[in-house]
Symmetry: C2
Subunit: 399 residues, 2 copies
């Protein structure tokens, strides 16, 4: 068995590159950008009125003028025009191009308009209420960097520069595999000794949040069918997540069969709780990565969250970050395992604090409902005090 | 014009109830549960072995016995059985039903197995390595509460209790409408006085994150077509989000036409920056709610994030919460408007701090890229000091 820290590092050492793909903008939210995006024009592309009112040449103000003949109206979407006389004004609408020889906009609230003349109520400052061409970004500037996560804000920028399609990081084709003869489908009524499948649904949901639609499979505890299904999955998928069948039981055939199928074991067993019998390997020939999680629901969940998610991030090029929060209660460590403890997060006066969730071991699926994430406490000391900072791995969106 | 606080309250006062709908579990992630979920059996449903090893009756240990004849193997998924003699043992696998007259499991690591006999290396504790029936949840207990957000953890619980389909809160049919003659499609090359549509793409992306797939529409600045499209949208949709056309301009026909179409104005104009000319109304007859945002990209974005998101949450039954963070720099307020300032969030030693993002007004779309959210500062004082707590409205996932 290896330490938690070593296991985590070994998983990251086996990140893969799945390349890039071209997708339409409407499907890009949540994806990772795979190209630098450059402004194709200045932002804004012209001197743009930011108020509805009149456009004037400030020289007229300097000469003491307060009343302006209205030459016409400039609406948003009209081509650039000029004042025929810089002593006059043009009515101008928000978003319109500032007339070439105007330099100041005065909003309607500061003007009285009567019989084709505008009279100022309030003296303007030169250049006011104009969003000058190129003042946000110059043409050719990088406006979005490769490897950023695309959220609604980035979508707006991508639209503005005309990226109807764009290059994003490709996601690996993924299979999720449950194992165990005790498992029945969720639409079935289990016999007294059976339980319904849950891990595969949890994984389906979690991968969906990463933009991956996995192929769900189930294996009975029978060598021949395990061999057949895994061989096929290794050919068809780049990532396989299994739950169950990696412990010391008589029917835990997974490690043996993965070995037969040329999947090289990187490690089996981590000094952690829950999730200790985690098996991790790579098929060198194809590059297919196999995360074989112990089948208890909390074991699968903690290993997915801790190892797989960061592995995926790093494979896609997203920088990893560590969140630390303060303990709201003392934590006492017994034994030699790193503990991944279910925790609830509290935000009080801008401070993040974690309290422990009452739980009943790694089979206690329900304890994940009040859980916001896992705190990581290593056995390098016996007591973690109140207020001490610990690593926090979120399992749901908190902010 | 009304205050920011009043506007926010008025928007919440017009929450709607769109009822519930039945959907398959595979589509439930991110949705809001609309029924209490009850355990249909005990969790776990039987006394369940949590280790691979042997099952014994502890009375044998009390009698000093250390070697046990193996009667057979109990695998996960096998019906309940018994020891034929309580001086014997059964090999048992993780997830299997504990034999009726056994009460203790001893893992393989603490046993030597030879010629059909198991010899203890380490004395067990009575009842060890068993996950007792009903110890997580009793049959009939509520395991998930109505109005919770469904994440992968809840999906696991829903699967375990057999909810192949479930009742979630229904989402409103929504139209998003951009207006303005200066706007062209993203696949077009704009003329010098034109810009590409961006708000409609931002809103499409943002609503998608809430599970809503809106209908995108565009209006030219022409009364007759605005009237026609809005009349149809009011019939077909429960929510309409518009951007642009609500300011003081000559072609800002939206408020007038909404009024004609019996959409009652709740307010028009809020003492805030950006996003001041926000128009909000409800068509009483149909209950259709109209959010008409000013068209500058940051104005639309800030109003969507601040008003619409909480309005939607409350309409779906999700409790609202306020996030407060400490200021990393001093903020000086001038004027009488509540400011919604673009901010970057920093997490240091478990503390959340906000610093201001350099920006160039409400047209500066690019400034939303380094922005994590908006801080709200009201003009009830002139200076907000470093370290002072302010409300923070996130615009992207931070934890």
């Amino acid at each position: 068995m290896i330490s938690f820290k070593d296991a985590y590092q070994k998983v990251l050492d086996h990140c893969q590159d799945y390349g890039d793909e071209q997708i339409p903008l409407s499907q890009a939210t949540g994806r990772i950008l795979a190209e630098d995006i450059v402004a194709d024009r200045d932002f804004p592309p012209f001197n743009r009125a930011t108020k509805d009112g009149i456009a004037i040449n400030y020289k007229a103000i300097e000469k003491g003028q307060t009343t302006f003949k209205i030459e016409g109206v400039v609406a948003a979407g009209m081509p650039s025009c000029s004042l025929s006389d810089t002593a006059n004004c043009l009515e101008i609408m928000t978003g319109a191009v500032l007339p070439e020889n105007a330099d100041t906009v005065i909003m309607y609230e500061h003007v009285i308009i009567e019989n084709g003349w505008a009279t100022l109520i309030k003296p303007p400052s030169k250049g006011q209420d104009i969003h000058p061409q190129g003042s946000d970004q110059k043409k050719g500037n990088v406006v979005l960097r490769k490897f950023c996560t695309i959220t609604p804000a980035e979508i707006g920028v991508l639209a503005a520069v005309g990226k109807a399609t764009l290059k994003v990081r490709a996601l690996p084709s993924t299979a999720i595999v449950s194992t165990g003869n005790e498992l029945v489908d969720i639409s079935e009524t289990p016999l007294p000794h059976q339980i319904r499948k849950s891990n595969i649904h949890t994984l389906f949901s979690a991968l969906g949040q990463e933009g991956i639609e996995p192929t769900p499979l189930h294996l009975a505890d029978d060598k021949e069918s395990i061999r057949k299904v895994l061989r096929k999955s290794l050919q068809e998928h780049k990532v396989i997540l299994l739950s169950g069948g990696v412990s010391k039981g008589k029917y835990d055939f997974i490690p043996e069969i993965l070995n037969e199928l040329q999947v090289e074991k990187i490690f089996h067993g981590v000094k952690q709780r829950p999730g200790k019998p985690f098996w991790f390997g790579v098929q060198k020939e194809t590059g297919t990565v196999v995360f074989s999680f112990p089948g208890n629901p909390v074991s699968t969940f903690v290993n997915y969250t801790t190892y797989f998610k960061d592995w995926l991030k790093q494979s896609l090029g997203i920088p990893l970050s560590e969140i630390k929060v303060a303990l709201k209660e003392e934590v006492v460590i017994k034994g030699e395992l790193t503990l991944l403890l279910r925790a609830k997060l509290h935000l009080l006066d801008g401070k993040l604090q974690a309290s422990l969730v009452k739980e009943n071991g790694s089979g206690d699926l329900n304890s994940l409902v009040p859980t916001d994430g896992f705190i990581v406490v290593a056995p390098n000391k016996e007591v973690y005090e109140i207020g001490e900072y610990v690593v926090f791995i979120p399992t749901r969106r908190l902010l």
